[in-house]
């Protein structure tokens, strides 16, 4: 350490100068913002989260959704690839005979236990039909019970992909045990 640094006082004063400069500059910007309505330079980098959301990356892995066919039925053919590859063993599929012989099968049940899911995205990679995606932009799905974390086929089918800046377009589903 240099002598000046060992002496400490000068370094403290420099540090105080830096923080005080931040304080006064930001205070001035806040004043310009709130008192004079000048919003060109924000005084803080804060996003007021529930009202303002950061734009998410398009690669973000968020809540799963099941892709629909044109008639609204799931595109999934219940091939069990995702269930097999899932490292957390959190996908549960019950297959049933599809009326259309060319399609062969469809999932009667398709549950994902998001309490176990590690968001690795392998299910999306494994799917041969591009029937499962993780592009809803929804990250808020906490629950007070384990049961509330299990998302069923109906819920997953109803979800829409996120908008171009990552904002969710489907309503953020609130599990039943969290409804007011």
């Amino acid at each position: 350490m240099k002598f000046r640094q060992r002496f400490y006082l000068a370094e403290v004063l420099i540090g105080l100068g830096v923080t005080a400069a931040h304080f006064f500059v930001n205070l001035g910007r806040h004043t310009a913002h709130h008192v004079f309505g000048r919003k060109t330079v924000p005084g803080a980098v804060t996003f007021q989260y529930p009202e303002e959301r950061r734009p998410y990356s398009p690669r973000l892995r968020s809540l799963h959704r099941l892709v629909r066919r044109e008639d609204g039925s799931p595109r999934c053919v219940a091939c069990m690839m995702c269930e097999t590859v899932c490292p957390a063993h959190c996908i549960y599929i019950v297959a049933a005979e599809h009326p259309n012989q060319d399609i062969e099968k469809y999932p009667e049940r398709f549950d994902i236990d998001l309490g176990k899911c590690v968001f690795c995205g392998y299910c999306v990679e494994a799917c041969p039909e591009d029937a499962i995606r993780m592009d809803t932009g929804i990250l808020e799905f906490s629950s007070y019970s384990r049961l509330g974390m299990i998302y069923t086929k109906e819920t997953l089918l109803a979800l829409e992909p996120a908008g171009p800046d990552g904002t969710p377009r489907s309503p953020i589903s609130i599990p039943p045990d969290r409804r007011p």
């Binding site: 006082l9 403290v12 540090g15 105080l16 830096v18 923080t19 005080a20 931040h22 304080f23 930001n26 205070l27 806040h30 005084g43 803080a44 980098v45 804060t46 007021q48």
Partner: protein, 370 residues
């Protein structure tokens, strides 16, 4: 003063003013702490507590905190010493609160044929009283550490005691210089002394003889030791909330809140002391007892109650500015390690303040003659 009803009322009013001032400042400081740190760090800070949708820049957060603390479970550890455990937070907060009593918040107010000293209690050794009360605070901390029946709390209490002792010694030694320059231990006299012009033969009447000009080294030493006495960052290793746990690890609810409160009140007391000893207390530059007398010859006559009001406002403003500065330090510096703080206290602040006393003595003797 004969104990008439009016006299009693005035005495009560003086005490009530100081109490309210300290408690309000202490409560506000929790808000200042959040907001100031946020603004310093390019954030917005707590702003969600609202009453009927009114947020007022988060001013309701101290209120929400109080409600939260009061409604939380008041947990008593099974093997704790019930009496000491309950007593400890009270000792901490009360000793911090009463310490402010000897700090004057204004000169005398002349009204209705009375002379009211604007100070909660008039003591001719006021400084010593403030110190005595500030050092009493460490008993609360040690009691908390001991009574919790928890080894971590005990160690925290010991760290706090070691820190407080090293800080108190440095505080005591650093203000000796001030007491020598103004020739008194009475806070009122020290502040009156700071109204005189500094070195009139060189600067005329321009610069007031504030402690920060006559005793700059003592000011820095006092501020450093004062920060240590409040047990806040950068000297917060008695508590060390983020990793080493401290003396109030077993406390919850309002008892924990009282320890927090004691820290904030101590900050206000240190700010008050700094103001009184180094920043001229209630002195407004160029304001004499009958109005402004500017060094360029202009005068503005003011009624005495108005002068007193100005002085009280000046005192409050100075305390607020010093509080802001203490917060600035608290949010700028990282925490000292235990051994670093001990070395700073015993090998840095203490010898330097003794040196300052000796130097002050020599200068005074050379200046005024023996």
């Amino acid at each position: 003063m004969t104990p008439t009803m009016a006299g009693l009322g005035i005495a009560f009013g003086r005490v009530a003013f100081v109490m309210l001032f300290v408690l309000t400042m202490g409560g506000l400081l929790t808000w200042v702490e959040r907001k100031q740190s946020a603004v310093m760090q390019d954030r917005i800070g707590a702003n969600r507590a609202s009453i009927f949708g009114l947020r007022l820049l988060g001013l309701f957060h101290p209120l929400a905190d109080a409600i939260k603390m009061l409604t939380k479970e008041d947990f008593l550890p099974a093997r704790a010493d019930r009496t000491l455990f309950t007593l400890a937070p009270f000792v901490s907060v009360v000793s911090a609160l009463v310490a402010f009593a000897a700090i004057p918040f204004g000169d005398v107010l002349r009204a209705g044929g009375r002379e009211i000293p604007l100070q909660a209690v008039t003591l001719n050794a006021g400084i010593l009283y403030v110190f005595a009360m500030l050092s009493l605070g460490v008993f609360g901390v040690m009691m908390a550490g001991w009574a919790s029946a928890n080894n971590y709390a005990l160690l925290g209490g010991q760290r706090a005691a070691a820190l407080m002792i090293s800080a108190e010694v440095a505080i005591g030694a650093s203000i000796m210089g001030v007491a020598m320059v103004y020739g008194s231990l009475d806070m009122m006299e020290i502040i009156r002394g700071q109204g005189a012009p500094l070195l009139p033969q060189w600067f005329g009447d321009w610069i007031p003889k504030w402690g920060i000009f006559t005793q700059l080294p003592a000011f820095i030493l006092f501020l450093a030791a004062g920060m240590a006495a409040t047990k806040r960052i950068p000297f917060d290793f008695p508590e060390g909330e983020s990793e080493i746990i401290g003396y109030f690890v077993e406390y919850s609810g309002m008892k924990f809140g009282m320890f927090m409160m004691a820290d904030f009140v101590e900050t206000v007391v240190i700010a008050g002391l700094t103001t009184a000893l180094f920043l001229g207390g209630w002195q407004v530059p160029y304001l004499a007892g009958d109005g402004f007398r500017f060094p360029w010859g202009a005068t503005v006559a003011l009624a005495q109650p108005l002068v007193a009001l100005l002085q009280v406002l000046a005192f409050c403003l100075k305390v607020a500015v010093v509080c802001w500065f203490l917060m600035l330090i608290r949010w700028t510096l990282p925490r000292f390690r235990y051994d670093q703080a001990m070395r700073l206290g015993w090998l840095g602040l203490f010898p330097l303040s003794i040196l300052n006393v000796a130097a002050t003595g020599l200068v005074l003797v050379a200046w005024r003659g023996p």
